[in-house]
Symmetry: D2
Subunit: 393 residues, 4 copies
């Protein structure tokens, strides 16, 4: 078989382990801002290339750093005194024949636009300094994009799994809810920078939430305490809808009223005051950090969706795992390795590790079909990336 399928088995589902640790950084976290910035730039480049040249050119803009600003939050108000600095880096085709691609302009423009949409209390025009050092890549890499079925430009690994464990669903669900339109409408004080850490010890789940509050929406200590209560309550509700385990929620545990230390921000993100971030340092491709699960260091955000196997295989592995679970396997890990120089539809290895009562033969047959189907979809996946259909951080 051309796709190097390998079947194996593991003997414990995540939910059965005595301990689990899961983390999710919310959309206002400095690392996630960087992931988002990288991915939005990739999308903007794709669209520019498509519109002007009728095809997507090579790019890899998966590097981004955020240097925290300086702010003076206080109950009822506050201001940004030193803007946040964001540097976008990577490479992209910068010249098509004699036509220069305005890389820097595209980068700055698209960053402003998405930031304005995603943050309610951060004005990117005055609170953020956006810089761009995206450079033209080398020609060797460029050409691989021109083949019919793109060629793997690297030996990269994609890893994912299904289904999510209860703890994972709880952690993901809490951030999702707290950053939902609904909650924001009701509790505008709840900022976008929400970090959820979940630890399960046997049947008990401990959730630690760090949630930036918007200083202008919180009048005093009392209102702040109420807001923490609200976060706690919303989170407990989310958890109770997902599982029956006992869930303990703690919010902003570093607060120290005696020293007047609260998690107050002017803009809703800790990036405003000293917290830095980098692309690829936050959530993995399913939106979570899961030390008890297979993970790679590949950052999907910012990579080109045409030929970068690090991006494509991450999503593909997740789809394979999910479809196999739908077909009856209880839990599936999927590992994929590309082989440089071969079409992206021909991985070196696809390893399916299943937790199931089914026989190896059964698993192999199911896998063969699913893997083949997903591999065939890969050359068209870029369209879904452009529509932001996949969670990738």
């Amino acid at each position: 078989m051309r796709n190097g399928l390998k079947i194996s088995f593991h003997n414990q589902r995540a939910d059965q382990l005595p301990v689990e640790i899961v983390e999710r950084k919310g959309k206002g976290h400095p690392d996630v801002i960087c992931d988002r910035a990288a991915e939005e730039l990739s999308i903007a480049l794709c669209k520019y290339y498509l519109q002007r040249y009728g095809r997507i050119y090579h790019h890899n803009v998966d590097k981004c750093i955020l240097v925290g600003g300086q702010s003076n939050p206080r109950f009822g108000g506050g201001e940004i005194v030193e803007p946040i600095y964001i540097l976008l880096a990577g490479r992209a085709i910068g010249k098509v024949k004699d036509d220069v691609v305005p890389l820097k302009k595209i980068a700055i423009d698209c960053t402003w636009k998405w930031m304005r949409k995603e943050f309610r209390y951060l004005d990117p025009l005055t609170d953020v300094e956006i810089d761009c050092k995206v450079r033209p890549g080398s020609t060797g890499l460029v050409e691989t994009v021109e083949e019919e079925i793109p060629i793997s430009n690297d030996t990269s690994v994609g890893v994912s799994y299904a289904p999510m464990s209860e703890l994972e669903k709880v952690v993901y669900g809490i951030e999702d809810k707290l950053n939902s339109r609904d909650v924001k409408r009701k509790f505008p004080a709840i900022g976008e920078d929400i970090k959820v850490m979940g630890v399960r010890r046997n049947g008990r789940i401990y959730i630690t939430i760090a949630c930036a509050m918007i200083s202008s929406e919180v009048g005093d200590e009392k209102e702040y305490a109420e807001m923490k209560d609200a976060v706690r309550q919303i989170s407990a509700e989310v958890a109770s809808e997902i599982c029956d385990r006992k869930v303990i929620v703690r919010v902003n545990t570093a607060d120290n009223p005696r020293k007047k230390i609260y998690y107050l921000t002017v803009t809703g993100t800790s990036a405003e005051h000293g917290d830095d971030g980098e692309a690829g340092r936050g959530n993995r491709v399913n939106g979570l950090i899961t030390p008890y699960r297979p993970m790679t260091m590949e950052a999907a955000a910012g990579k080109n969706p045409i030929s970068h196997v690090g991006k494509l295989y991450s999503v593909a592995a997740r789809r394979i795992a999910e479809e196999l679970v739908e077909m009856g396997l209880e839990e599936v890990y999927c590992y994929m390795v590309s082989q440089i120089g071969k079409p992206i539809t021909e991985p070196q290895v696809v390893n399916i590790s299943a937790y199931t009562k089914k026989s190896e033969k059964e698993v192999e047959e199911m896998s063969r079909t699913v893997v083949r189907d997903v591999l065939e979809e890969i050359p068209d996946m870029w369209k879904s990336f452009l529509q932001r259909k996949f969670v990738i951080f």
Copy 2:
């Protein structure tokens, strides 16, 4: 028990899995350069604080980005035409009473110094532009450093395991050897940027090496081919000393002599021409990327070695695992979670997952002792960090 010990078991050693994937980025890889830059800056800050104020102040300089330069390598020569750009970020105490700490100066100075030592063909003074945006952190964080036993400043996770699998030893060993003084003396053409990807399928190991060659030390295509042979041979020898499996080594597979594409560099790192990097995106704290093993997203490099649990627990988890293996367990995974606001010697959870024939009781007793001993050492670990005793990337 105050350290939340939890014992569990897993049923397969890495060596027994049908597939394994392991990667190591060598010391000249752009991501590793960033990790190194972050860690060296932390060490330089520690030394400055110690010497001038008698104690180490808070800092967290674990963010670093590298934007690739531009070069014109050619057989027998070549030059850098656009320097590499490195931006160091994070925060550090910048003022002690009225005394200003020259953060930028310390950063630039230490970066030059280590780069000059580590690279033979890269002159940081002209080939690298070093920038520094390290800012003073917030006061709340600062004070935690002043307690007797430092307080966890975050809910962080440390994860590690022992022993290395054969494949892991092979991958680690190959990079180590190729970047050894011995090999450099004999084959000066072998650059510092060496990426080793290992895939094991049952008994067979496939090693893919991307090794930057130094253009001035390679006269022509023929010499280049010889150099690739040398890399292959050295790697095969390393592997054969570690294991008896069949090992296939491939070097610079993206080469395309017909299109005159070779992996030639002026300086020995792909950072010279368009390849970018970030701290925390490369090897995990044991020097490897291991999707089949527990990993965290924590970057140890650049974090302060006094109180940052993300750094301390990563190293501690490795030590615990290693000592338990020495005491007779076959394979150990160790997961640790800090609890914010508690002393760093009191984690929320320490989970030991063992592969062993020993009983839970035996494992628990061994673990209790080992964990206690290692936790007690944590407050003194900073000394070893300052002496660069731990591999952390």
Copy 3:
């Protein structure tokens, strides 16, 4: 006399010289953009300080550099492919008690605002990258601002003269007209970057105009030629209203239709494609560069209007000269030197050089009154600077 008055005489009016050379850089010229940026920042700082603290604090933001961008103008269209870079520098009080002044934010905000107003075809949000390295000044300098009558912080020189010669009026008038609302409405193709060089040889005036055309408003070579004709004709009319001399006007003399070289820009300023600028390198304080007239190197733009004698004396010298001319002297040069450490109303020297038939005694008497009156006004001049009442570049 406390103001060190000295009277002297010169024997030729500018209009009588056999040769005169006069230059004016228009408001879209890179150097003038820098002057404007510096001055607008000073005004924005003054307003911020006034509003928040009730008084103006020390600042000196008279340094600014512009690095030209890259563009692709073509008849009927074109785009900016690399933004213009503007760096504002200098120093300003950055902390009042514990309140941090958001210097960078003020700088970026005010620059965008004025640029948006002054340019019709330049969108500063996407076409300009604004950077700010304004740092807090030293304390010694700071305190001088707190005295009742400010103290000279430097030994600076202010120089000016009156009246303008005919050539000067023509050069000034042409730029003024071409950048007027009237002309822009009728001929939107005429850009903001207009440089006028005037040379008079005896009775004949040669005007050389470099006028950036807006590419999207010029359909082809023919329309371009028509636009040049329009510029020529408008300029000739301006000149004929001012003087009776023969005036020869040349427009965009570097054009070379054979090589398809035209002075086309997307935005109306040459800054979009490689032309750089600096504050203080363009017009002197009366809006002209006049090698046949007394000039200083003092840049008024960006200096604080409370105590910076380089700014205040430049304007004061012009007012003294103008009033003396109104009182009957034919031509007056005025030179003023401050003395460091003394109130700004007590210059070291005020030298009046007159071209007149009046006696030294008469001139001295007139001067004494005028100088005294203008010196008395100096402590209130800052109000007029805030209202942009003076031409200063």
Copy 4:
């Protein structure tokens, strides 16, 4: 006559005026550092182009800004806590066929080298951050360099005069002496940043010197006072060798011992603590700022010495004036204007204004010869620029 010669006369020599004002900024002044940086970069580019391509390519790197650092000078010691920032800008040919010119590398390298040579207490490697935004210029400008006799690329003005007045000689001589090797050996405490302002009122000369002292070389207030005495004495001696006028010298008049304000620096330049600079804002092309003399705004430093008339005519005008004075005219002003598109040897106007008893005919004849000779030398002047033979700031 092709060079547009025009003769005129003026009726007063500078020495006869009742007042004169003259300033010189010494080699360590922030503005002069920028001029020097620009010119050294031009020389480095010329040498690179010559060596690699056998000819000098177009460049115009006459823009440079310096942002002051931060320092902690104290008697007997002190340190730099924030480096000085220097940004070099302009444009230069960056690609010759397919060969990329390492502009940034050349810029950074040459800046370090000259700074290391010129400053005794400033280590550019750690105390200065050098940045470079030199961009490739437009093609139209490029080609003018390729003609046999270069073509004027702009309508530029060159202005100069001879001889220096006594005051001018004194001001120039004092800085020259204080920055001489002799004085530095004897008085290492005297820094490089020396600003000399001279005012003459009739027979009396007032010299105000701002002289940065090196903090590590001055033990206490007493030694500082001695050093000021030394500066005063050396300056008085220089003056007395040049003229018989009464000379009053004041040194560091902003000092305020009561408030412990002294002009102390770690490195010898005020750039280390907040003082900013720009190229072209300091001394004119004869090393002086002279409001009573003809001046232009042209900055010679950094312009290419092949075709940039702003640079070439400035030096040419000085040579013409000096030779005419040697031939017997008492004082000469020389003004030159280029005409764009014509060979640089064919100015639009050369105006000689003489103070002399000779007849117009005599002056015209002398001038014709001198002007012709100097114009003929212009195409070879670049060699002298490369050897740093001319004072140009």
